[in-house]
Symmetry: C3
Subunit: 471 residues, 3 copies
C-alpha cells in the first residue's frame, strides 16, 4: 500500500493500454457519481452531525475490514464491536484504530486496501503510510479534520460530487430521514432516495417475522391478517417509497427461485406463518411466489427490480449469536439462474415496462447463465460485480465474461453497495479505472476504436446506471 | 468497430507477443479451412443461386444478431422474422437492414462485431463503418455484389478456400442436396459432407416425436414398431450418411447422462413413447441409453461421436410459440460430465476405434472435468469453445484452462458451427489469431520455443481437426 | 520445450513486470524448500541407495506423465507399468524411455513439460532437447550420473536445499523408514517427517476396509472391536505420528461433508461395517463424522488438518482393475464447501488452536466459497493450487481469485505434492516464479509497492508454509 497514489494505478503496464486507459479515464473521472444501490445510513445526511472519530467512521461499520482482521485472529471485542450479551468490549477507539493499523498489511493486494489508501489520501489528506507506527498520528489528523465544517456529511456529499445516493430500506421504514433531508431544503446538487427492500417480511420461517409483519401493518395502517391484504400493503408501501423518490426495489435471496403458487396456497402459507407453523421449504416457495408478485407490481409502478442471490447469511452461528448480522460471516453458495428465473422471465421478461437487475456471488454464472439471459431477455440487466467481486480482478473477470455475449449495454453501470460513506469516491474511482483499462485493452487489440471506447467508458461510468435505474 | 481491419487485431499489444503472434499467424492464415461442424444449409451450394439480399443473408439467419437486438427491445417482427401465426412482419429488407445498422453499436466488443467487421470488409469489400447513416449505401453496395458470379455460393466456397464443409442433418434427411452437389461434378477444391444428428428421434417425450419416427421409418423403408428395428434403422442411416461422406455424428443433450438400460426397458419405453405415454424423465433415460448405442455403433462404423451438452432450449416460451426455435432463446445450464459420462467411457473410452468430441457451455468444466477426462481417456477429445464462448476471451480461457492438463493434442482444432455461410472465414480468422496469440504468450514467457509454437499453431488450425474428424 | 532454461521463464514479457518479477524472485530463489505435503517414499532416504535408472525414476512413478501418454494411445504395458494379473509388460527401461521421449511433444505448454525441462537441465545437467533422436543419449547420461555419490537421494536432498520434507503415511504405518532416517544421524540440513493420513480406515464400504482396520489394530496393540476403541486408536496413532515429527494430518474425500452423528449411530455403523453391511451412503456419513472427530483431536494434539476434496478416484474401472490406483484415472467433480463444512466450522472454526487447510480441484470454488471462508474463519487456510491446477495458469488463477477476498496471509504457501523426488526443486522454482510474477503485476499497476511485494514474496515462498504447518 503506497501512501502516494500513482495516477496510473490499476492500469496495465503496457504503454499502449496505459495511454488509452488514461485518455478514457480522463473522460469519466469527473462525471458525477450515481450510487443507485448502497447501504449508507440516511440519518447521517439528515442530521448532518460531524462524524465522531476515525474508528467508528472507518473501521467498525466495514465488514470487509472486520472479516479480514477476525480471520487472522483479532477478536471482534478488541475492535469494539458490541456484543449482544452486553459483555464489555474495547471502548477506546484509539486502541481499535491501533489494532487496525497493526494489521493493515493484511489488506495488501485487496480492494479494501486500494479503497482505504484512496480514502486516507484523497478524502482525509493523509500523506503517511498507515502502519503501527504512524497509526496514532494519522488518527489524530483525521480526528481533527472531522471537526471541520467541510468534513460534515453533507459537505462531503457535495465534494464527492454525488448526483444520486440510494439507500436500502425496510418495507416498514417510515423513511423519516429521507423526509428530513427533503424538507431541509438541502439538495447538495444531488438526491438521496430510498430503495424498497421487503426481505424481512418475506422470511416467514424466521423468528423475527411476526414482528416484521406487525411493523409493516403499523405503517400500512391496518393489521395484515390475510395474504391479499399483505400484498396490498406491499403495493402501498411501494407507492409510498416511489413518492419519496425510490426508483427501485431490492431482494436478497439464497436462491433465485421463482414460481407462481396455486391461488390458495399463498394464503394457506401466510396463515400458517402467522401461527408459526412454517418450514424453510415453505418460506422458499412463499418467497418464490412473492418475487413473481414483485415483478407484477413493477410493471404497474415502474420500480426497477433488483435481485441479489447466493449469500448464505450468518454461516458462523457463534459469531452471529455473539455479535449479530453483517459482521463478515456470510458465505456464498453455487447459484442457479437459468431454471430458477424461467417462470418469472416467461411471465414478464419480454415486457418493455419491466427491468430486472441480477447480481451474483457465483462468478461461474457470468458466462454460463447471466450473460446469455441478459443477451436475450429485454427485461434483464446485469448488476455490477457484487461484494467479494467488487475488485480489480473481479471487475475484469465480469467484463471479460459478460461483454462478448451481452455487450456492455445490458449491464447496469457501477454501484458502490457500501455502508462506508467515505469510501464511495474510492469505489467509483476504482470501477472507472478498471473499466477504462478493460476498454483500453480492446482498443490496443483493435477490437474497438478509441472513439467507441470513449462512448463506452461514459456509458459504464454514468449513462447505463442512469438509464437502468431511471434516475 | 473499425471499418479498416488492423493486421494485428486480436493480438496482445506487448511487442514480443505481437511479433511472435504475427509470425505464427503467417504460418496458418493461408491454410485451407476445415469446417467439421456447422449448420450451413447445403441447398445453397446445391442450387448455387445468387444470395437474395443483405438482410436475408447476414441478419435474419444469425441468432447471435437477433438475440442482441431483441435484448435491447427490438421486436423480431421489425426484423422480418416470420411469426408462426402468420401475422404480418416487416417485409422490406432495407428497413430490417437499417434497424440492424442503427443498433450496430450493441456489438462493440463482441465476437459478432468482430466477425461482421471482417465479413463486411473482406468478403464484401465495404470500406465504411456500418452506422445508421451509412446503412443504406452499404446495403446497396452488398446487393450489387451479390448479383455478380463471384458472389455465388460455390464461388465464395472456393474463394474461402474451404477444404471440407460439414453440415448438420437429421437422421431422416434424404441428403438430396448433398447428392446434388456430389453429382454436379463441382468439388470446388473441397467437399461438402453431412453429419448424422438423430436428436429428434431420441426425444420421445416431445410432441413432434411420432412424426420424426415416421419420417425415419419412411427413409428406412419400413415402419419402426419395436426398439430393435428402431436401432437397426439408426445403424442403417449411419451407414447411408457414411456413404454420403459423413465422418461424424452429433448429439445435443441437456445433460450428458449415459447409462445402459436393462434389456427390456428400452423396448418398454419405446412402446410407451409410441402410445404417447412417456415423461421427460423417461426421455432422459432413453436418451442416455441411446448415447451408449451410438458409441457402440461408432466402434463399428468409425463415425466420430460429438456431444453438445448443456443448452436449455427455448427458455423463452412466448418467443418460441411466436417464432419457433433458434431465435436466440436458448440458455445454458451447469453441466456435469465426470459422473454422467462414466458408463459410456468405462464401456468404450479405452477403445482405440472410438473418438468422442465433447462440447460444453459451462466453462467451469474446462479445467475441472473436461481437460482431466481428455488427458486420460484415449477416446476423448475436446471440441473448441462453443457458441457463447466462441470468442476472443472465450477461446483464450479455453486454452488457458485445458492446455496445462490435456495439452493441445487432445483438442479437436477449430470449427465454426455457423448457419451464416459468409461468416465462415471470419470465424476461422479469429480462431487462428487467438491461438497464435496464445502460443505467442507461451513463447514470450519461454515455456515453449518458437519452433514448437509453429508446429502447434498448424496443429490447432488444421492438423487436429483433420485427425480428430478423420477428414 | 527449450533445452536451455531462460532466466526469465514464466515471467510476463512486459518490461516493468519482468524487471520487478526478477527482483522478487531473487529474493526467494535461494530460500530453503519447505515441502509440507507430498508423496515421496521415505524408504529412498532411509536406504539412500542409488536410483536404478531414468525410466523408473522419472517416468513410471509420475501419473502426470502416464495419463498424458495413455490419453494419446500409449498402452501402460508399453510403459512397463505392472499389471495386477501378472501379464507381461515392457521390461526394458530403455524402450520405456524411448517411448516417453517420442511423445515428449505432448507436454508442450504443460507444467509437466516445464518441470521436466528443469529437472533434466538443472538436476541432471542435460543440455540437449529431449526428442526421439536424443532419447538414448540422454538416457545414458542420466544413468551414468545416477551411479555417482552426489546423485544418491540424501545428497540430492541436501543439494535441493530441503528444510522439511513431509511424506504421506497410512494410519497403520509403523513409520520404520522415518525411524531409520532419524536414527541414522543424517539430517542433511533438513527433516523428513510423516503426515497422518487415515483415509483407508474411514472407508467402511470399501472391500479393503477389514484388512485396514486389522492393520490399525495391530499397530495399536489391540483389536478394534468398537467405535470408541477405534477412535482411541486413531488418537494414539496421531500421538505416535506427532512424536515422529508429524505436524499435520491429511484427509482425502469425494465431498467435504461434515456432520456429528447421534452418539450411538457411529457405533452402529462401525459394527455394521465389521459385518460388511454398509453402503456408500453409510460411509459418507461415517466419514463426515470422523472429520469432526479429527478436528476435535486437532484441538488437543495441535496437528494441522488438511482436507483434499473433490477427486473421483479410479473413474476408469478397466484401467483400475488392470493396473491399480494412481495411474491417472482420477477425475474431479464439482465440490461444495459452504454448506458441507458448516458443521465443522461452527464447532471448531473459531478456535485459535485449530488450523484447517483446504484443497480443491474445482476452481469455481476459489472466489465463491474458499476465499470467503478463509477470509472469515480464523481456522481456515487455503492450500496451494492442487494437482491439475499446480501450473502456471492454475497458480495465476488461484492468486487472482483468492487474494482480493482473503489476502495472501490466509494461504498456506507452496507445496509440491509429488511422488517424483527429483521434481521437487522444479515445482518450487515454478511456484516461486509465478508468485513473483503475480506480485510484480500488482507492483506494475501500483496496487502495492515493491517493498511490500518483497515481503509478500518471502511469505509465499517460505514464511506462510512454516507458519501454517507449524514447521
Amino acid at each position: 500500500m503506497a501512501a502516494a497514489l500513482d495516477p496510473d494505478r490499476c492500469f496495465d503496464p503496457d504503454p499502449t493500454v496505459r495511454r488509452v486507459a488514461r485518455e478514457l479515464f480522463d473522460e469519466t473521472r469527473r462525471l458525477p457519481i450515481l450510487s443507485p444501490h448502497g447501504h449508507v445510513d440516511p440519518r447521517i445526511l439528515a442530521t448532518n452531525e460531524p462524524f465522531a472519530e476515525p474508528a467508528a467512521l472507518i473501521v467498525q461499520p466495514d465488514h470487509y475490514i472486520l472479516r479480514m482482521l477476525y480471520a487472522r485472529g483479532v477478536p471482534l471485542e478488541a475492535l469494539g464491536i458490541p456484543r449482544r450479551d452486553g459483555a464489555s468490549v474495547e471502548a477506546d477507539p484509539r486502541k481499535v484504530w491501533q489494532l487496525f493499523a497493526d494489521h493493515y498489511y493484511l489488506f495488501r493486494g485487496t480492494p479494501t486496501g486500494v479503497w482505504l489508501d484512496y480514502e486516507l489520501h484523497e478524502v482525509f489528506g493523509v500523506r503517511d503510510r498507515l502502519t503501527g507506527e504512524s497509526a496514532s498520528g494519522i488518527y489524530g489528523a483525521i480526528l481533527e479534520r472531522l471537526s471541520a465544517p467541510e468534513f460534515r456529511p453533507r459537505a462531503l456529499f457535495e465534494r464527492f460530487h454525488i448526483e444520486v445516493l440510494t439507500t436500502t430500506d425496510k418495507a416498514s421504514d417510515p423513511l423519516e430521514h429521507h423526509r428530513t433531508i427533503r424538507e431541509s431544503g438541502w439538495r447538495g446538487g444531488g438526491r438521496v432516495v430510498p430503495c424498497f427492500r421487503p426481505d424481512a417480511v418475506f422470511r416467514i420461517a424466521s423468528p423475527g417475522w411476526p414482528a416484521e409483519l406487525e411493523a409493516l401493518g403499523r405503517e400500512h395502517g391496518a393489521p395484515l391478517t390475510d395474504y391479499a391484504e399483505f400484498v396490498c400493503a406491499l403495493a402501498d408501501r411501494r407507492t409510498f417509497f416511489r413518492r419519496m423518490g425510490a426508483t427501485a426495489t431490492d431482494h436478497a435471496v439464497l436462491e433465485p427461485y421463482t414460481t407462481w403458487l396455486p391461488p390458495d396456497e399463498a394464503e394457506v402459507l401466510f396463515q400458517q406463518a402467522r401461527q408459526g407453523q412454517v418450514t424453510p421449504a415453505d418460506e422458499r416457495r412463499f418467497t418464490a411466489h412473492l418475487l413473481m408478485e414483485m415483478a407484477r407490481l413493477s410493471l404497474q409502478d415502474g420500480l426497477v427490480m433488483q435481485l441479489h442471490a447466493g449469500a448464505l447469511r450468518d454461516h458462523n452461528r457463534q459469531l452471529f449469536e455473539q455479535f449479530g448480522p453483517d459482521r463478515g460471516g456470510d458465505i456464498p453458495v453455487a447459484t442457479e439462474f437459468t431454471r430458477n428465473l424461467r417462470p418469472l422471465l416467461n411471465a414478464y421478461g419480454n415486457d418493455p415496462r419491466f427491468t430486472l437487475v441480477l447480481f451474483t456471488l457465483d462468478e461461474s454464472t457470468y458466462s454460463r447463465e447471466l450473460a446469455p439471459l441478459a443477451g436475450h431477455y429485454p427485461a434483464v440487466r446485469l448488476g455490477p460485480p457484487w461484494w467479494f467481486h467488487d475488485s480489480m480482478e473481479g471487475m475484469r473477470r465480469f467484463r471479460e465474461r459478460t461483454t462478448e455475449t451481452a455487450g456492455i449495454y445490458k449491464t447496469a453501470g457501477c454501484n458502490d453497495d457500501t455502508r462506508a460513506f467515505c469510501s464511495i469516491p474510492a469505489r467509483h474511482d476504482l470501477a472507472r479505472r478498471v473499466d477504462a483499462n478493460y476498454l483500453a485493452g480492446l482498443v490496443a487489440r483493435h477490437v474497438i476504436d478509441v472513439g467507441d471506447a470513449r462512448r463506452m467508458a461514459r456509458a459504464l461510468a454514468y449513462d447505463l446506471a442512469k438509464e437502468t435505474y431511471k434516475l
